[in-house]
């Protein structure tokens, strides 16, 4: 029974004399392969040349600081709530007097941990954050030797004052 009209009857016709010589087919094959000799190579020499990530690429997280170098995060916990993989945990603390140059608001995250083995890099934490504190960058999560080392704390996640992480591309493309 014919179900669709896409089916084709397969025939195996007798080869003509020229075809049975195989030589024309071999020469056309050789012509095809030699063409590839002069084509542009698909390989990237990786460590020297890196392929550019898409603007929406979601890699390792960063906890941002503002222009004066104060941490944006207020430990509201919205990222942890929104996280479908339950990868984020945090402890909140109150800012002491004299710490105004460290934290932007009165409350801050004393402990902020993301379990990179749990994280599915969905970016919901970034969307949930009301303080522009957490972003997924185009950096790649580095490898570690034990599972415990994949729980990244503030020492890894918070950007250094002198080594700011550029998220302008991501912000422009993605914030509403």
């Amino acid at each position: 029974m014919q179900l669709t009209n896409r089916s084709k009857v397969v025939t195996k016709p007798e080869m003509t004399f020229v075809e049975s010589l195989y030589l024309p087919a071999i020469f056309s094959g050789l012509r095809i392969t030699i063409k590839h000799l002069f084509k542009k190579k698909a390989t990237l020499r990786y460590p020297e040349v890196t392929r550019e990530f898409a603007p929406v690429y979601r890699g390792m997280h960063v906890l941002k600081r503002d222009e004066q170098g104060r941490e944006n995060c207020t430990a509201c916990g919205l990222c942890a709530v929104s996280c479908p993989a339950e990868a984020i945990t945090m402890d909140a603390a109150e800012r002491k007097a004299g710490e105004e140059n460290l934290y932007r608001e009165e409350k801050y995250a004393a402990k902020y941990e993301i379990n990179m083995l749990r994280c599915i890099f969905c970016g919901l934490c970034e969307e949930a954050c009301p303080k522009d504190a957490i972003y997924l960058t185009d950096r790649i999560v580095h490898s570690e030797y034990t599972r415990g080392e994949f729980v990244f704390g503030k020492d890894v996640l918070v950007e250094k004052v002198d080594q700011r992480i550029d998220i302008s591309k991501r912000k422009k493309e993605y914030t509403i």
Binding site: L23, G29, L30, T33, K41, R45
Partner: protein, 354 residues
């Protein structure tokens, strides 16, 4: 310098050149494969990856040497040795260029100008079968044995057609078996009797069919794709060298590339005029004799390198034959064609005189 010393130096140089070309053939193979597949290939070791063969060689030497318990130890070691030995021996009769001349003394760039050169090449190449067969048998492994059986039956089958296609060439050059004479005869006379380009009287223009038969047989003899059934890594885990490791495996792989180099040289000598190149007589009148000799060596090596490239080019173009197809091609197509070719050549030569 006596001729003996010169020959000894020539042997050493040939030995080194064979090994060097074999080493860089592995590199070229990987590069050609990569380029034909839009990749780059090895480029990490040295500029353009040129030190890759050295790295591969060091790796081969440093790997653990494993001789299977159930193998026949003596034969297991003898296998790669024989294969390598026969591969290297063939280069002795190939005329590598026009003779050099120093102080009235003439030095032939050929280790041994024996009058049965072609026969010697065919004979030594056939001995190579023993290397594969012994290696495959001594491994005591079913895949190795299958590969060895395939290799020996394939090589013996294709030797017939190969020999037959060479006979037509021998008829062309007054029945001489000396490779030197065959090459020299392609450097004299006019092409088809009227095209007057010196050094272009190549046999391939008279024997295109014989050339194609010989080329196909050369592919089969060197176990290259599309006839690489003895190795066929996708079916036989490497065939006859399944059990080999370390430098013994290296010898097998190396010898295969030397075989490729030598068969390219033989093809160049039998059908493409060997060291002859267009305009060789004219250059002989304006340049000193030894310079022309060196250019002739370069011409031969150019032809050889082209054929080595052709071997690789074909490898990445044509898929492997099925075994019955291989046998049918060898016995039912190439053999009769070669015999007909001999008959036609003989008839034409008899009719037109020489």
């Amino acid at each position: 310098m006596s001729v003996l010393v010169f020959k000894a130096i020539l042997v050493l140089v040939l030995f080194l050149i064979s090994l060097g070309i074999a080493a860089y053939s592995t590199y070229a193979e990987r590069k050609v494969a990569a380029f034909l597949q839009d990749r780059i290939g090895p480029d990490r070791a040295g500029p353009f990856g040129l030190l890759q063969p050295i790295a591969d060689g060091v790796k081969m030497f440093l790997k653990e040497e494993i001789i299977p318990n159930v193998s026949d130890k003596l034969l297991f070691i003898a296998g790669p040795c024989i294969f390598m030995l026969t591969a290297l021996m063939t280069s002795a009769v190939i005329p590598w260029g026009k003779a050099l001349e120093f102080g009235g003394q003439i030095y032939n760039l050929q280790v041994a100008d024996i009058n049965i050169g072609v026969l010697y090449v065919l004979g030594v190449v056939s001995l190579g079968v023993y290397g594969i067969m012994i290696g495959g048998w001594a491994s005591n492994n079913k895949y190795a044995l299958l590969g060895a059986v395939r290799a020996s039956s394939q090589m013996i089958s294709y030797e017939l057609a190969m020999g037959m296609s060479v006979i037509a060439v021998l008829l062309m050059s007054n029945g001489t078996l000396s490779l030197n004479d065959i090459v020299a005869s392609q450097g004299t006379g006019k092409l088809y009797g009227f095209i007057d380009i010196s050094g272009m009287n190549w046999n391939v223009f008279y024997q295109p069919l014989g050339f194609i038969i010989f080329l196909v047989c050369a592919f089969a003899e060197t176990n290259r794709t599309p006839f690489d059934l003895p190795e066929s890594e996708s079916e036989l885990i490497g065939g006859f060298h399944t059990e080999y490791s370390s430098m013994k495996l290296g010898l097998y792989l190396f010898a295969e590339y030397i075989n490729m180099f030598i068969s390219s040289a033989v093809i160049a000598c039998l059908f493409f005029g060997g060291y002859n190149f267009p305009g060789i007589d004219y250059l002989g009148t304006v340049l000193p004799h030894n310079v022309v000799s060196i250019i002739s060596v370069a011409a031969l090596f150019g032809k050889i390198f082209f054929f080595i490239f052709f071997f690789m080019w074909v490898r990445w173009t044509i898929p492997r034959f099925r075994y019955d197809q291989l046998m049918r091609l060898g016995w039912q197509v190439l053999m009769p064609l070669a015999i007909i070719n001999v008959l036609i050549t003989g008839a034409v030569l008899t009719y037109f005189g020489n």
